[in-house]
């Protein structure tokens, strides 16, 4: 069973390999404004999550996402919706 924390954990692993080591990754850090991810990298991140958890994540969820915590929440909701309760 996948939990929101597990999703956030995977996000951190990805972000730590993508952004410069000096930038501390926190759940509430802004992906674009603070971490400096460009739009392509954010979309690539979704692709990684799709394959990691074997689900379809439309780009549309990014509209309301600014931080890793929000992204984990959005992906978790999607999984709940797709598979019933996943926790």
């Amino acid at each position: 069973m996948v939990s929101q924390e597990m999703i956030l954990e995977r996000l951190f692993v990805y972000l730590n390999t993508t952004v410069p080591a000096s930038a501390p990754v926190r759940p509430d850090i802004e992906l674009v404004q603070e971490l400096g991810l460009d739009s392509i990298k954010v979309m690539d991140l979704l692709m990684e999550l799709e394959d990691e958890f074997d689900i379809s994540i439309p780009l549309n969820i990014l509209t309301d996402v600014r931080t890793p915590a929000q992204l984990a929440q959005a992906v978790f909701s999607l999984m709940e919706h797709a598979n019933g309760a996943v926790r």
């Binding site: 460009d38 392509i40 799709e50 379809s56 994540i57 439309p58 549309n60």
Partner: protein, 410 residues
């Protein structure tokens, strides 16, 4: 956040480039002498960064057709296709393109960008699914966003990745719209359309191919990649532009679906903008005929593409993955890209400088493109300018570029 605060990062990033003597963003080209030559400031340059694939912008028959139209139809239509903006030329060009592409319907748009917005953004809506290649053009992304459809990306030119994502979607994949491009504008590589068509046959979906850079360039008759690979019957919608091979401005969508024409009554980017100017339409009609009548132009274009590609590879540059009229030289940083771009102008060659995130690989690239109108001597001069850069004081720029990430390229 104040309205303009969001641009602060952009201002910082661009500051160094804009302060320099020559800016790669919106470069002023002072004079155009021919499809392949112009002047930028004091420098007379070979134009090796256009999309003028067959060199038709100065073709006498195209110029003459545009002049005649100007004389007889005026400078603009001043209206939408749905109102007073459908002249006989617009209707005739739609019929001629339908005949050329062997499709039931063709709809003209005012630009290629609007063709994507007006087609994808109207055909799909909330509840629909679009599967697009990750390297698709911004107009395709914008069109998907406008539509409100669910957008799923697959890895660039990776048919297996598309298949995996379609399998994941299950039954929903049967009605999804798959979008790829013929030749990709930045890396000059082309879609694995045979494999994608096969996946579509097995799993369903509709296939849209944006042939903006491949019309007139690929295929026996110049219909693009789908013709080249003999999969035209698998393609539901062909998108294209008049601003590349056909040498003017405008766009079109072609399809065999009987309902396709209905888009005219639902597509806001078709309805709520002025139609292409009559002179543009007239020159495009002439250019289409030249393209059909002179297949030797395509032969010359590919000879030039192979010539330049080989020359750059022989010099040791890291270039795009496939030989095509778009030949990018990959460099590892924006600074090196800028150095190359400026030096090339000084050496008499204009190319396009492309920086991340517009570059698919995150690298900087100087995008060279060839035309059938380039002479072999001009191609040699372009190669010569790149060779000269090898000997420039900032030698590390070149040697580092050679060591740039190679997997997937060449």
């Amino acid at each position: 956040m104040a309205l303009f605060d969001k641009f602060n990062k952009l201002i910082q990033e661009r500051a160094t480039f804009i302060q320099t003597e020559l800016s790669p963003f919106g470069t002023r080209i002072d004079e155009i002498y021919s499809p392949t030559e112009g002047r930028i400031g004091e420098c007379r340059v070979i134009l090796a960064g256009t999309n003028n694939y067959l060199g038709l912008t100065f073709d006498p028959t195209c110029l003459d057709a545009a002049r005649q139209s100007l004389e007889h139809e005026g400078t603009g239509t001043t209206g939408s296709r749905m109102a007073n903006g459908s002249y006989s030329g617009h209707i005739a060009l739609e019929a001629e393109l339908a005949d050329f592409f062997q499709r039931r319907s063709v709809i003209l748009f005012s630009t290629g960008y609007l063709a994507n917005l007006g087609t994808i953004g109207t055909l799909t809506g909330p509840g629909d699914i679009v599967l697009l290649d990750a390297d698709c053009h911004a107009s395709i992304y914008d069109a998907c966003k406008l539509s409100g459809a669910q957008i799923i990306r697959f890895r660039h030119n990776d048919a297996h990745d598309l298949e995996r994502r379609m399998l994941r979607l299950g039954e929903q994949a049967k009605d999804a719209l798959i979008i790829v491009e013929g030749i990709y504008s930045m890396l000059g590589d082309y879609a694995p359309l045979k494999e994608i068509a096969e996946i579509k046959r097995q799993l369903g979906g509709y296939l849209l191919v944006d042939e903006a850079h491949s019309v007139g360039v690929m295929g026996k008759h110049g219909r693009g990649l789908a013709e080249e690979l003999n999969v035209e019957s698998d393609v539901d919608i062909v998108l294209g532009t008049f601003s590349k091979t056909l040498g003017a401005i405008g766009g079109f969508a072609a399809s065999h679906h009987p309902e396709f024409n209905l888009l005219r009554y639902a597509s806001r980017p078709y309805i709520f903008t002025a139609s292409p100017s009559p002179a543009s339409i007239a020159s495009v009609r002439a250019a289409l005929q030249v393209m059909i009548d002179q297949p030797e132009l395509r032969t010359r274009l590919w000879a030039n593409a192979r010539h330049l590609h080989k020359g750059l590879v022989d010099l040791g540059y890291c270039v795009g993955p496939q030989v095509s009229p778009v030949i990018p030289v990959l460099l590892e940083s924006p600074e090196k890209g800028m150095f190359f771009w400026q030096k090339l102008i000084k050496h008499g060659v204009y190319v396009n400088l492309v920086l991340p995130p517009a570059t698919p690989s995150g690298q900087a690239l100087v995008r060279c493109s060839v035309s059938a109108a380039h002479t072999p001597e001009q191609i040699d001069r372009i190669i010569g300018a790149f060779a000269q850069l090898m000997a420039e004081p900032r030698k590390e720029a070149v040697s580092n570029a050679q060591g740039a990430t190679r997997p997937g390229y060449r």
